[in-house]
């Protein structure tokens, strides 16, 4: 449920679903996101779902805060919000050349490499949102014992495909980018394909993701099959 709607500047609605980060609240955000997308509300030109907020941007030349707020309130009365999500498996290679921060994590978490990997690969993740850089999925939730802060000094360049952990989340760097997540491996899979006009994102909010460990050889051969 939307707890409060306010304006974020003069060209966006800020829908607040609460302060907690959990799957239930986020699923609600995603349901609204999908419903609004399907309804093609006049003037709406962008939607940004996140853990517990949904920002609806609109073209101030065409509409305004009051009109969009009314439209959203109309929607919220209907129960016509559908559930979503597909199941995905993402191959990850944790060869030493890829797991850039494994030693740091072993120290910070006081866990052995094997335990970290076991926990990570047994986990079923939920995609809360995508963004920051194009296509980057924010996947949760890691157990308490697996939660580490981000690097004190972020890397200037994190390699494309890197799989990282920070606090309760895992993510995948869809491009080479600056970043401060703890990198444990790399996926050969194209998680964001900018040549696709439709659905360039492989992982979308609401999807369930499991990682599958692969060897360096499998990694190298992955894109040659």
């Amino acid at each position: 449920m939307i707890k409060n709607i306010s304006n974020l500047g003069d060209a966006a609605l800020y829908c607040d679903f609460g302060d907690e980060v959990n799957k239930e609240i986020n699923s609600d955000v995603i349901k609204y996101f999908n419903t609004i997308k399907e309804n093609n509300i006049k003037g709406v030109n962008n939607l940004t779902p996140s853990y517990n907020k949904l920002i609806i941007s609109y073209d101030l030349k065409v509409t305004n805060f009051r009109e969009i707020k009314q439209e959203i309130e109309k929607l919220s009365q209907s129960e016509d919000t559908k559930t979503i999500g597909k199941n995905l498996e993402i191959p990850v290679c944790c060869d030493k050349s890829f797991s850039l921060d494994m030693e740091r994590l072993e120290k910070k978490l006081d866990l052995k490499r094997e335990q970290i990997l076991e926990n990570f690969f047994n986990k079923e993740f939920f995609c809360y949102m995508t963004g920051f850089i194009a296509g980057m999925p924010f996947l949760g939730d890691l157990e308490e014992q697996m939660r580490a802060q981000r690097l004190e000094t972020p890397r200037v360049k994190v390699p494309k495909g890197s799989v990282g952990m920070t606090e309760q989340f895992a993510n995948i760097y869809t491009f080479e980018s600056p970043g401060g997540w703890n990198i444990i491996g790399n996926t050969p899979l194209e998680v964001f394909d900018s040549s696709k006009e439709k659905n360039p994102n492989l992982i979308n909010p609401g999807d369930t993701v499991k990682f599958k460990q692969i060897t360096l050889e499998e990694y190298k051969n992955y894109n040659e099959q």
Binding site: S6, N7, L8, G9, D10, A11, A12, Y14, D16, D19, V21, F33, N45, N46, L47, T48, P49, S50, Y51, N52, K53, L54, I55, S57, L60, K61, N64, F65, M129, T130, G131, F132, I133, A134, G135, M136, F138, T174, F175, F192, S194, E197, P200, N201, N204, P205
Partner: protein, 314 residues
């Protein structure tokens, strides 16, 4: 495809193709992008007789030096720009908002944006560009858009797809008004800041930092004290949102911004002031002035009417 093209003799500092930008991709992490100063973008296309949403060349600070090869083409520069045109070994000073006809081997040398940041070059016709998600706009940080998502480089060719025939010389008198007071509305985390912090933000002057680009404008000045939390759970951003990270210096999100951020939002710039905000050059002072949503809506309507009025005079 026409046989006309430009050769880039000097690329300039940050020269890109831009158009109206791309909608409906925030949720996958792709920002709006598009021409920073929308009014000058529209005026450029209108002056050369184009549809208003065609791609133009945007440059910042120092623009490109381009040599034209082909038959002829009309061009215009908008913004507050110093430039020269070389025709038959004669160099003339160019005027913004006035079209010029370039013939084979003529050159246009865009020297600088005068106490501003962005300027626009439009041709009468269209460049040969690949669109990505409906827009040519280049986002150099994510390598999205035409020209492989990269800024223009020395020695490359800019192919012209089509040159419009029978275009008349056109000219308007327009002066870009400059502003120091940026009108804002309170952001969703305004109360994360102490009374003193709010006062500082609304009353003191800030200096635009050299670290500003199409992603964001960094400001330097008195620190804004946060009394709640210097981080929020990551959530969506918009152009014009003013975030204050732990160091207390505000950052204003601009057109190529990251789509998600975790710093408290102290305020949002009113849409009416966006075109003029982006033109404020590093080292300049700015001050914020709080207005209500209803005022912001009215002011934007008036600004939009003024833009339409300018366009209708061309």
């Amino acid at each position: 495809m026409s046989n006309n093209y430009f050769k880039v003799i000097r690329a300039g500092i940050n020269t890109t193709f831009q158009d109206k930008g791309r909608d409906n991709l925030y949720h996958i992490g792709v920002p709006f992008s598009g021409a920073m100063d929308n009014r000058n973008y529209l005026l450029a296309n209108k002056l050369v007789g184009n549809e208003l949403d065609l791609p133009v060349i945007e440059f910042a600070y120092q623009g490109p030096l381009l040599k034209f090869y082909g038959d002829k083409v009309n061009i215009v520069i908008t913004g507050d720009v110093v430039f020269k045109i070389r025709q038959n070994d004669k160099e003339i000073d160019g005027n913004c908002y006035e079209t010029y006809e370039l013939k084979n081997k003529d050159e246009i040398n865009i020297l600088s944006t005068n106490k501003s940041v962005y300027g626009y070059l439009a041709i009468s016709g269209s460049f040969d560009l690949k669109l990505q998600w409906g827009s040519c706009s280049i986002n150099t940080k994510a390598n999205i858009g035409s020209n492989d998502g990269k800024k223009l480089e020395k020695d490359q060719e800019i192919k012209i797809y089509k040159v419009n025939e029978n275009t008349n010389k056109k000219k308007i008198n327009y002066l870009n008004s400059k502003i120091e007071n940026i009108r804002i509305m309170k952001g969703t985390n305004f109360d994360y800041f102490s009374e003193e912090g709010k006062k500082v933000f609304l009353e003191k002057e800030y200096i635009v930092s050299k670290l500003s680009d199409r992603m964001g404008m960094r400001l330097e000045g008195p620190k804004i004290e946060n009394i709640v939390n210097t981080n929020i759970k990551s959530e969506g951003l918009l152009k014009g949102v003013i975030q204050v990270p732990a160091d207390g210096n505000p950052i204003i999100m601009l057109s190529d911004h990251g789509t998600i951020g975790g710093y408290p939002k102290i305020a949002v710039v009113a849409s009416v002031d966006y075109d003029r905000l982006v033109q404020i050059s590093p080292g300049s002072k700015i001050k914020f002035k709080e207005i209500e949503l209803s005022d912001a809506e009215t002011l934007f309507k008036l600004y939009e009417m003024e833009t339409q009025n300018l366009l209708s005079q061309i």
